[in-house]
Symmetry: C2
């Protein structure tokens, strides 16, 4: 029985006889010599089949094998400078496990709609594999950061009774006769958990039934949300910059090959170190005006505004103290200027826009109740949330980081649809 | 400015002046001496306020502070054998941040319904904190195991178009004019991802709109699901035992204090090492009959059957090769006895029942299509899933482990409702 090996660690097997189980990625037919590119999910290796070295049946199998057929190849690993990856396999045995039908994704250019319809196959392309591996690393880094810094994971519910920010962008479902909504955030539940655990984070899918079609929006996306008791806006900004830098540095360290495959210029990523530049919303508005943009104080920034602001800096920038009117009902007002909120957004460089939104939450029950009423939210559904201000309320803050936007930025992608295995967008729920 | 410290690492600060920010857990009034038990999410420490040592105002604040008030205490850390935890704080300053109203959860016994209505506060009790910390460790261990063993995380979609196992137990939502359902599993999508990445896992919330009220069921629960290309039932069972043992050993190592607080006898947990005993469904039926249970070959095991089977062993047991009729449509038949499926369940000891279900999936397109038709499933919605058998199909297998059942078992809990911060059960969606 020959030992099974992964392409990723093939160098450890130089000179040995190994078996690789994978798929035929590409083939070059040189008559008596077949060069098979075999991929196994960890990498691609060239498998060389020489007619004189193998039984006739094996050579025929190599000749017949089609793109994406599942194949098992055994042979000797040898170093070869000319081979992609530096090693090749001198094949002695080959088995076609399943002969693939003509594969729909060919080297020619395909339209986006075609690729999206074939997302279950498109994932196999080296570019999509690289993005998925970077995504997994981003998520690993997020969890690692919080687990190592005193935060406890709390899984907040997806099915929620209250419409936290109005029902217009919520997916609704019947819950045994009641209405339930898919959560847009776990924050309110995290706020309950901090009184038990001090520092927590939740990490799960979130949903927004928005009828918008932009390169930055998905209807289902993943968000990681830390929340801290006894923490103000400054603590929140400090956490944000440490956290974002940790993610980027982890990807640079552990996913170098994938960034290279994507052709990502890593120079701007290498600059992502704390501290990040900070500016107030007021200062941001001044910058926009100085650049000739027509922006009204009191509005929220659009994508072009965010790009214009981020251009001013080489690192992500922390824009803080937005007007209360553009932020959610639970934002703590700035004690010096109550028309402002103790909020912060982190804007990624290179035009990738907002990746973090957060800030300090209202600690006072009366003010919170007033805001709930001003926003026409059902106070009854928020009784438990108001309770948190009756029993040991503290100044507290936190934020949410969108995984897909972060992955798009780190990978340098045009469109967010490639950052998640099976994107959910307007009119797109298949496969 | 006095350094802020956590109770968890208070030993490092012996003799030093520190500040602790937390909540008043309990208080003993000895006249000129107030013993405050202060918890901060990492632990509980006794803070001693002596009337003669502090300003009158500070002493009054200590006297007035109510249960669960948020308080900041500063003072000197000193070792004291009599103090719970071995250290206490000789208080020099005390600030009540928010004076809590009379706290609804008192040391007297409360009914389950009352506690569930106050779940946002109940989480603060030491027992609930311990469970949440063990849950977080279980999840950390799951991810760590797969990340360290060549698996890539893929986040499979929650909103899905097809009703994978019939619509009767699905939560449905409107998706811009189409019907979408909340996923009961990410497996089908993981099967697509293995052809790209070899070994993958998904980990997210799953949903079952079941009208059942048992101590083992939640409507929203978390599941981790590994899937491997080129892997048969034996590989699947091997992975299951290694994985479950890793989780249990991680909790024993890293959450000893919490297991102790729960009064968990760890002897049965310490025995959870691979290999696990294995038996076929047929052998299991024989055991049930030998124990006098009335069980019909071809039925699925109920909770009492699972308990009776698990009693026979000191470790979790892997029951394999269930009749095809009790398993999902995608199960690979046993080539030697096609009425059986290459399936496996892992039953936890001590009556905790099934924590894992999985097995080998059908690799052949024609057989899969036949099963889809036999199960009256919409073939159109499964085109992409059938595609996986047209382009490089491989023998492949995987399983799903339910987080909440695993946490219930490891913690030794009566009911699954305590294993998740905000349980979703029949008629229970608040808070």
């Amino acid at each position: 029985m020959v030992e099974r090996a992964c392409v990723e660690s093939i160098a450890q097997h130089e000179g040995q006889q190994v078996t690789i189980k994978g798929w035929l990625y590409n083939k070059t037919d040189k008559g008596k010599l077949q060069f098979l590119l075999v991929r196994d999910g960890t990498g691609i290796i060239q498998a060389v089949v020489l007619e004189d070295d193998v039984p006739a049946q094996t050579f025929e199998a190599a000749q017949m094998a089609t793109q994406e057929s599942s194949i098992i190849v055994s042979g000797t690993v040898r170093a070869d400078e000319r081979a992609p990856g530096g090693y090749e396999l001198a094949v002695t045995e080959l088995e076609v496990v399943q002969l693939a039908e003509p594969y729909p994704i060919t080297p020619k250019e395909h339209g986006v709609s075609f690729l999206m319809d074939h997302r279950h196959l498109w994932l196999r392309s080296p570019r999509q594999q690289a993005i998925l591996k970077i995504r997994a690393e981003v998520i690993r880094a997020c969890r690692d950061y919080f687990d190592s810094n005193g935060f406890t994971l709390v899984d907040t519910p997806i099915l929620t009774p209250a419409a936290c920010e109005g029902t217009s962008t919520l997916f609704e479902t019947d819950y045994f006769g009641e209405s339930a909504y898919l959560a847009q955030s776990g924050q309110l539940y995290s706020e309950a958990s901090i009184a038990a655990l001090g520092k927590v984070y939740c990490f799960g899918p979130t949903f927004r039934a928005e009828k918008s079609k932009t390169r930055r929006h998905l209807l289902e996306f993943w968000m990681v949300e830390p929340e801290m008791a006894y923490a103000d806006l400054d603590d929140c900004m400090h956490l944000a910059e440490e956290f974002v830098a940790y993610i980027v540095q982890s990807v640079l360290k552990n996913r170098k090959a994938q960034l290279e495959l994507l052709g990502r210029d890593t120079t701007p990523l290498e600059r992502v170190e704390p501290p990040f530049p900070r500016m107030t919303y007021d200062e941001a508005v001044e910058i926009l005006h100085s650049k000739g943009l027509d922006f009204q104080w009191g509005d929220d920034f659009g994508a072009p505004d965010e790009t214009a602001l981020a251009e001013e800096f080489e690192r992500p920038v922390l824009v803080n103290r937005y007007p209360t009117q553009v932020k959610a009902f639970y934002m703590e007002p700035d004690p010096e200027r109550p028309e402002l909120s103790l909020s912060v957004d982190c804007l990624a460089p290179e035009g990738y826009g907002e990746i973090i939104g957060g800030g300090q939450r209202i600690a006072d029950r009366d003010l919170l109740l007033q805001r709930i009423e001003e926003h026409d939210l059902p106070a009854q559904a928020f009784q438990w949330y108001l309770d948190l201000r009756r029993y040991g309320s503290t100044p507290h803050s936190g934020f949410g980081l969108g995984i897909e936007r972060t992955v798009a930025w780190i990978c340098g992608l045009e469109h967010i649809r490639e950052t998640i295995p099976f994107p959910r967008m307007l009119y797109r729920i298949y496969p």
